[in-house]
Symmetry: C2
Subunit: 214 residues, 2 copies
C-alpha cells in the first residue's frame, strides 16, 4: 500500500479511507499484513482523486460515478443520462421550481427542437431561470437562445469525440469530460469576458471598436 | 421583521442570521423591539438568498460579493476582475499547478490573443487542464480552441449587455449573471449533449445523420 501511495501521490490514510468507503477494491492479500495492488488500482485511485479534488465531487457522488463506470448501461445513449444524473451536484425537486420557470424551460427546448427528459439538467436549467428572475435580472429569450446555440456547438464536438466503440472507455470519457470540462468552460468564459471588456473599455489594442456595441 | 420575512419568503431565523453576519444592514429602530425595513432591505435580502441558495455561495463569498456591489471599483473593467475573484469557488495556489498545465494555458491565451492576468479564472483553467491530463484524457489543443471560441462568443454577448452607464446596476448585473448564468450554461451543455447523442445514436428524428460524424 505504501508503494501505491507513493506512485499515486495520495497519502496512505486517504488510500485507506477510499478502501473503507468501498471506492477502491481491496488488493490481493499476500500475507496477513501485505496486499498486492496492480495498475488497475493505481488508475482507479487517480480517477477518484481527480473526481474528488478537481471535480469537487462528494464521496457519495464519486461512488455513483464509479458504479456507472463499472456497470455501463446497455444503451450508449442512456450512458449520458446516467452520468449526468450521477454528476448532478444536487437534484432540485421539480415542484420547488416555479411554474413560470418550467414553462420558459419547456418553451426554450421546443424552440430549439431538443429532445429532453425532465432530468437533472432540466431542473438545473429551470432553477437558474428562476434565480435570474428572482434577482430582478430575468434572462431574455434572446439570451437563452444565445447560450443554447453556443452550448449546442460545444456539445456536438463533445459527442463526436466520445469513443462509442469501446463502452468502458466511453463511460470513463463522458464522466471525466463532464466533470472536468465544466470548470474549463466556465474559466474560459470568465477569461473571455475579461479580455472582451479590456479590449472594449480601455480603447483596445486589438481589432475591436472602443465602444461596447458589437 | 416578520413582514420582511413574509414578503421575501425567507424564515425569520434566517433573516436574523444574515443581520448577525452583517450581510443585511440593520433596520431603522422605531422602538426597543421594532425596526423598520424598506424596499432596499427586501432587494438585498432577495439577492443574498439567490447567491446562497441558487449560486451555492458560502456566507464569506456572499459577503465579498456584497462588498463589491457596495463599493464598485473605480474602473469599469476592474469590476469584472473583482467579481470573478470574489466568486472564485476556491483559489488554487499557482505553485500547486504543474508547469506543463501553466505552459499550455499560456500558449492557449497567446493563440487566442487574449489579454489576461494570472487571476482566479486563469488558475481554474490550468487546474482543469491538469485534471484532464491526470485522468488520462488530456485536452487537445483543438478541444481547448473549440471551447474557447464558444466561450468568447458567449462573453461578447455578456459584455455587450452590461449596463456600464450605471455603475450600481453594472456590478449587480455582472455578479448576478456570473453566478447564475454559469449553472444555466452547464445545464444547457448537458441538455445539448443529451439531444445530440439521442439524435445521432438512435437514428435520429431530426436533421442529423445517424452516424456520429458531424
Amino acid at each position: 500500500m505504501s508503494e501505491l501511495s507513493h506512485r499515486s501521490g495520495v497519502p496512505v490514510g486517504t488510500v485507506k479511507y477510499y478502501l473503507r468507503e468501498g471506492l477502491l477494491p481491496a488488493g490481493r492479500a499476500t500475507s496477513a499484513t501485505q496486499a498486492q495492488y496492480d495498475d488497475e488500482h493505481l488508475q482507479r485511485l487517480t480517477l477518484i482523486r481527480v473526481l474528488v479534488r478537481i471535480g469537487g465531487l462528494s464521496i457519495a457522488a464519486t461512488r455513483q460515478v464509479l458504479q456507472a463506470i463499472d456497470h455501463p448501461p446497455a444503451s450508449m445513449h442512456s450512458l449520458l443520462g446516467t452520468a449526468h444524473t450521477a454528476l448532478a451536484t444536487r437534484t432540485e425537486p421539480l415542484d420547488e421550481i416555479s411554474p413560470e420557470a418550467r414553462e420558459r424551460t419547456d418553451q426554450l427546448l421546443q424552440r430549439l427542437g431538443w429532445q429532453s427528459v425532465q432530468g437533472a439538467a432540466y431542473a438545473q436549467l429551470a432553477v437558474a431561470i428562476d434565480g435570474l428572475a428572482l434577482a430582478g435580472l430575468p434572462a431574455t429569450d434572446a439570451e437563452l437562445d444565445r447560450y443554447a446555440v453556443a452550448a449546442e456547438q460545444i456539445a456536438r464536438g463533445d459527442v463526436a469525440g466520445v469513443p462509442f466503440d469501446s463502452p468502458d472507455l466511453a463511460i470513463r470519457w463522458v464522466v471525466t469530460k463532464t466533470v472536468l470540462a465544466e470548470p474549463m468552460l466556465l474559466a474560459l468564459r470568465r477569461l473571455a469576458q475579461e479580455h472582451v471588456s479590456a479590449t472594449w473599455l480601455t480603447g483596445g489594442n486589438g481589432d475591436e471598436a472602443a465602444s461596447p456595441t458589437p
